[in-house]
Symmetry: C2
Subunit: 229 residues, 2 copies
DNA sequence: GCAAAAGTGTTCGCGGTACACCCATGA
DNA sequence: TCATGGGTGTACCGCGAACACTTTTGC
């Protein structure tokens, strides 16, 4: 035995992912229907076990890819859940990650394979184990995070209207925002480019599309700012 | 084998604690000198392995007690560090916790047993493994947290002067604050009780001692506020 | 011509910040 | 009497919040 290293009994190491998406109306979370016992048929976060040769970020990336078919997903470690009896089958510690994706870009086929479904935050069912607690914590973190980093944008398509952006923030923060104040604040962040192009689907008048100034955006993503909404 | 549960090779689970204290001048961190290989004699955070019958919070509490002799320490899970080769001896995932304690209350004897020592944040040596990264993350978290919850007070003795409190916040935030503005903001939080008593040690005139209104304090601790300093 | 969404500026109040002088006391 | 730290109030500015009307165009 190595001095100082006293292995305890087996503890399993899992990673569970809270995957957020946005559909122009609601903030949604992607859940899968568990296809094995215990709790077979019940809703759950997408998860998996940590492999010997990967770190937790790697595992989360792998799990996200398996369900969405997407790479380069914005993702952040949330918290390690470790109650002794959180998983009735075996002692398992799960490190939760939350991810935010552009809902249009995921792979529909994979989602069907996993019996996965998008749920509005207000309609999330009872989940297995402590997954509801994970989700709650993820929502709170996401809210705080969007006030410091412009990560909310990851949820939108490449070109989007100001109204879409506003609805997104309203969905994340779960409150109504004033149209004029919102636009002023976003503009003061100076990371958007207004395009000539209009989106005509939402109204007769049409609404200008915007996109990111990638360079300025990357800057803000590292050098925090404060966006009070 | 249980369906869905594929045990991987052994991965050790550790908890490391970043312990902050304050000595009226500097914010300090408690480090121990490692007494076994590898890295014997080098400085390290206090840590230990997770036991089968406890969760991570329990383990952190136990580890904190072992070094300080203190119960009821303010403590928060920070992050799970999981790089495959972070510990050269064996694959180990360490969940870091940070704790803040009243530096006067810890048990000197225990600290000597562990060859532990308080280091000012500016004089922290190279630590083993990824412990410097853990410390950095803890400092950043502590800074953010003190803007939202009045946890900074945990670092002070029961009775303290406004100047002590100000110096504490200056140490945490690593910047000078204006005396009058600071007092106004703290008073607007409405959680302190000004005592009749004065502390005569710091000046000829003496300076009024304060203490917490425990009830109001507990309130604020749960219902976040924002303290802009 | 009307319905439906887009776009656009101004005013008000509060909170943050900057700033300087007198006080009490022990040495 | 002087040196040291303690205690106190005000004025300005900028940011956040509230708020309403005009424009465009398809039906």
């Amino acid at each position: 035995m190595i001095k100082g290293y006293n292995p305890e009994d087996k503890i399993f190491l899992a990673v569970d992912c809270i995957i957020f998406g946005f559909d122009d109306e609601d903030l949604k979370v992607l859940l899968i229907q568990r296809d094995f016992e215990p709790e077979k048929g019940n809703w759950s976060l997408m998860g998996g076990f940590l492999k010997q040769e990967e770190n937790l970020d790697d595992a989360a990336t792998r799990i996200l890819y398996r369900l969405t078919g997407m790479h380069d997903i914005y993702m952040e470690q949330l918290y390690a859940f470790s109650e002794v009896d959180r998983d009735p089958v075996a002692r398992t510690i799960s490190t939760a990650y939350y991810a935010i994706i552009n809902i249009e870009k995921h792979n529909e086929e994979l989602i069907e394979n996993y019996n996965a479904k998008w749920f509005s935050l207000k309609e999330v069912p009872d989940l297995i184990f402590d997954h509801n607690a994970m989700l709650d914590k993820a929502i709170r973190r996401l809210r705080r995070r969007t006030s410091i980093n412009p990560i909310g944008f990851e949820l939108l398509p490449e070109k989007f209207t100001m109204r879409q952006l506003q609805k997104l923030y309203e969905a994340i923060l779960d409150k109504k925002l004033d149209k004029r104040n919102f636009i002023n604040k976003i503009n003061s962040m100076d990371i958007l480019i207004k395009l000539e192009e209009k989106d005509m689907s939402s109204s007769t008048k049409g609404s200008f599309l915007h996109t990111f100034d990638q360079e300025k955006y990357d800057n803000k993503k590292t050098n925090n700012f404060y966006l009070k909404l």
